[in-house]
Symmetry: C2
Subunit: 331 residues, 2 copies
Amino acid sequence: MRRPTLEAVAARAGVSRATASRVVNGQTTVAPHIRDAVLRAIDELGYVPNSAARSLVTQRTDSVALVVSEPGTRVFSEDPLFSTAIRSASVELEAINKQVVLMLASSPKSHARVERYIAGGHVDGVMLLSMHGADPLPSALSRLRVPVVSYGRPAVPVDIPYVDNDNVGGAEAGVRHLVETGRRRIATIAGPQDMIAGQDRLAGYRNVLRDSDRRSIVAVGDFTRESGAIAMRQLLGDDPGLDAVFVANDMMAVGALQSLRQAGRRVPDDVAVVGFDDVEAAKYTEPPLTTLRHPIAEQAAAMVRLLLNLFEGGPTEPIILPTELVIRESA
Amino acid sequence: MRRPTLEAVAARAGVSRATASRVVNGQTTVAPHIRDAVLRAIDELGYVPNSAARSLVTQRTDSVALVVSEPGTRVFSEDPLFSTAIRSASVELEAINKQVVLMLASSPKSHARVERYIAGGHVDGVMLLSMHGADPLPSALSRLRVPVVSYGRPAVPVDIPYVDNDNVGGAEAGVRHLVETGRRRIATIAGPQDMIAGQDRLAGYRNVLRDSDRRSIVAVGDFTRESGAIAMRQLLGDDPGLDAVFVANDMMAVGALQSLRQAGRRVPDDVAVVGFDDVEAAKYTEPPLTTLRHPIAEQAAAMVRLLLNLFEGGPTEPIILPTELVIRESA
DNA sequence: GTTATTTAAGAGAGCGATCTCTCAACGCGG
DNA sequence: CCGCGTTGAGAGATCGCTCTCTTAAATAAC
């Protein structure tokens, strides 16, 4: 009760295996009536090509790895970034008939596993979702001479194409909005400084404050809601007179709103709040959050294009997608 | 600059390909010094077995498909169920050295793609995340004679093992809690009735109400926040005197809380609210939500075990995991 | 009508592993 | 010293496909 092989199809259609193969692979050098006979045989037998055999000879697998290099729990739980990126990338890849092999690289041990797997030639290329600067994977994978693209600029200067959003520009736009609406003492809750997004958003904040002659007031969180709440309390302690805060991501902004409420500050009357990411929850906070939207889905699509270019020799410059200020009620 | 083959390893170690293969696959019938020589050769050449060649002869691929059969957007966005399940299943599968191939089946077209892929023998087994009753995939896949396990009881009576949480029992526990805390007029916002979870949770609600001699008041939502808000307004219109509502999932409960606030009802003083799922957000609502927790991660792990049993002939009865009432402030 | 050119289909050699079968070497009892 | 069981290693078939090379037939050219 084995699955039918190309041999069986050929026999049934009364042609050679080579001809059957031609039909399967859509070559045009087959006479119409023979082509039909083969197609009929395929249909009757329910033939499906064996992928192992095929990729053994073609040296292609038609699948790409989506490596999520991030400590386990954070990945999917709060932050919708990963899930959105994964979904979009999947959709895009399926559109070009590539399969997605999802790999989570959360520990050194799994890093090794991933490397071995990639080295094993299981996939034609790798899409790397890696946010932490210290991540050893970008350089490790680029050494394997496998096509790799990264989501988010790799922290170490390694020569792999990447897609990123304009973190610096986005932060600048957010802070500029606070300046333009007349805020005087603008604090920030920065993200972790071992992450590019954390660094760049803080840099954007500093740029604008420097240009507008204001003093910077910085607290650092780790992109979680709790850290945002803690950082906000700390900022209020440091400078009770602050009238605005730029928060490096929405989750922390939600925590900050909570602390502000507890401290009796009204938003935006007393303190204006700007977040970053425009997650779903930003619409439902009290008050709804003014934030910076970046098109995660488009970024994932761009990453797929980049990988395709890597296969086919197209342009592979990094792609930086713009962010957009979404003004709601918090600022 | 090709990758080294087993042949090369054998040549370098001065043995036959067969012996090299024995070493790679950890057979014990190789003399220690020869074994060492082969291992050294492997190390020096950086040999990694070619998976296509291997699975061509072994008929195994060591990867399993994780098929998410759900209309695109819903999957990852609001509902953390999918992301949590995917992550847990990945972790579990990686622990037993199986790769995860993620497939999204959102449209009839992609259904066909998934079926073809599975039929193509790319994977050893399938884990199906399917929530909708009308889903054609469970029966389609079970017909392919591929080991399949399902997350959530398949709506159509098809003979594939599954893992589910005790939706009926959980709903009963939630509603019973409302009864025991003295609530008289207990409404429900049910989930979509084309989903098992929607049906079963409503059934649980009805069971308890019947037994406690109360009248049921039902509105139906679609598991989204907005639908919860709308349903709540509708319930308040139908029966302004209701003093409790059992909501079939947390997202709808969040919407319901919003509508209750707008209607000037205090929670839990005027109206008690019980949700279902214990999502992250349930902790942060105003007031924090009393809800039913089910262990998604454990369910995913159980699903992996079930699949393993399917491979190896262990027991494959459906696994129903219990839910737990988490009492916070809303009820 | 013969030769040159195009087109369609077949023959057969791999791709890189696994695994059965075979055989050589060795130890040991009779 | 011979035969026999055991153990370790090699030979070679095989998995199912692709793709080059070859050949046969059909058409064109002169």
